[in-house]
C-alpha cells in the first residue's frame, strides 16, 4: 500500500468548505427540505474529517464514529421527513418562516 501523498490539511479544507456551504444553506434557505439536505451535508463534512484523521493515525476508531454519524443522519432524516409530511398535510406549505403554529 503506497503512503498517502495528500496532507491532512487538504482534507480539513475540503471539509471546512462543505461545512460552510451547509451552514449557509441552513441559515438562508426557506425551503425545509433544502434545510434538511444542508444538515446532511454538514454531517458529511464531519465524516470526512473523522476518516482523514483515522487514516492519519492509522487507527480505525474514526471510521467507527463515522458509521455512528451515518446512523444518526438516517434517524434524523426519517423523523425530519415525517414531520415535514405531517406539516405539509396541515398547512400546505414547505417554507420555514411559515412554521409559526407555536407563536401568537
Amino acid at each position: 500500500m503506497p503512503p498517502a501523498m495528500i496532507s491532512p490539511e487538504h482534507y480539513l479544507m475540503l471539509s471546512l468548505a462543505l461545512f460552510t456551504i451547509g451552514v449557509i444553506g441552513v441559515l438562508t434557505r426557506r425551503n425545509v427540505i433544502i434545510i434538511l439536505m444542508s444538515i446532511e451535508l454538514i454531517l458529511n463534512a464531519v465524516n470526512i474529517n473523522l476518516v482523514a484523521f483515522s487514516r492519519l493515525w492509522g487507527d480505525v476508531n474514526g471510521q467507527v464514529f463515522a458509521i455512528f454519524i451515518i446512523t444518526d443522519a438516517a434517524a434524523e432524516a426519517a423523523v425530519g421527513l415525517g414531520i415535514i409530511l405531517a406539516f405539509f398535510r396541515n398547512r400546505e406549505t414547505l417554507l420555514a418562516d411559515e412554521m409559526d403554529l407555536l407563536k401568537w
Partner: protein, 167 residues
C-alpha cells in the same frame, strides 16, 4: 501531478461544486440530485483514504437509503407553489455573512496551525478494513452500537407516528 493528487482534486472539486449547486437551486429535485453527486464524491474520498467499508456504507446507506427517502418525500409534497416564491429568507445577508465569517475563522485557525499535524505517516491502516471496523464495532464499541440500534428503533416509531394521518 500524481494520480493521488489528481483524484483528490477531482473528487473535492466535484463535491464542493455540487454542494454550491445544491444550496442555490430553486427546484428541490435538482438539489437532491446535486446532493447525491456530493455524497458520491465524498465516497470517492473515503476510498482514497483506505476506508473501503465506509465507501460502501456511504453509497448503499446514504445514496441508496437516505437520499431515496428524500426524493420520495419530495414526490409526495407539492412543489409548484413553493417554487414560484422567494427562495431565501429575510435574514439571508446577515446569516450568509456570519456563516462566511465562521468559515474564515476556522480557515485562519487551520492556517495558523499548519505543520502541527504530521504528514500522513507510514502508519498504515490494517489492510483488512472491514474486519478491523467490525472488530472495533463489536468489542470496544458494543454499548454505543446497541444504543444506536435503539435510536433507530425510536426514530422508526417516530417517523411512522409523524407520517400517520390519524394517531
Amino acid at each position: 501531478m500524481t494520480p493521488d493528487k489528481f483524484l483528490f482534486a477531482f473528487f473535492s472539486a466535484l463535491a464542493v461544486a455540487s454542494a454550491v449547486m445544491m444550496v442555490t437551486r430553486r427546484n428541490i429535485v435538482h438539489g437532491a440530485v446535486y446532493l447525491i453527486t456530493t455524497l458520491l464524491a465524498t465516497a470517492g474520498i473515503f476510498l482514497q483514504l483506505d476506508a473501503e467499508f465506509l465507501f460502501v456504507v456511504q453509497i448503499i446507506l446514504y445514496v441508496g437509503g437516505i437520499m431515496v427517502l428524500f426524493v420520495f418525500v419530495i414526490m409526495l409534497v407539492n412543489l409548484d407553489v413553493s417554487m414560484r416564491l422567494v427562495q431565501f429568507n429575510h435574514q439571508r445577508f446577515v446569516a450568509g455573512t456570519l456563516a462566511l465569517i465562521l468559515g474564515a475563522q476556522v480557515f485562519l485557525a487551520f492556517r495558523l496551525g499548519r505543520g502541527v499535524l504530521p504528514h500522513p505517516a507510514q502508519l498504515a491502516l490494517s489492510p483488512k478494513n472491514t474486519e478491523a471496523v467490525g472488530d472495533a464495532l463489536f468489542t470496544h464499541y458494543m454499548l454505543p452500537f446497541e444504543i444506536a440500534s435503539i435510536l433507530l428503533l425510536v426514530a422508526m416509531i417516530g417517523a411512522v407516528v409523524m407520517a400517520k394521518r390519524r394517531v
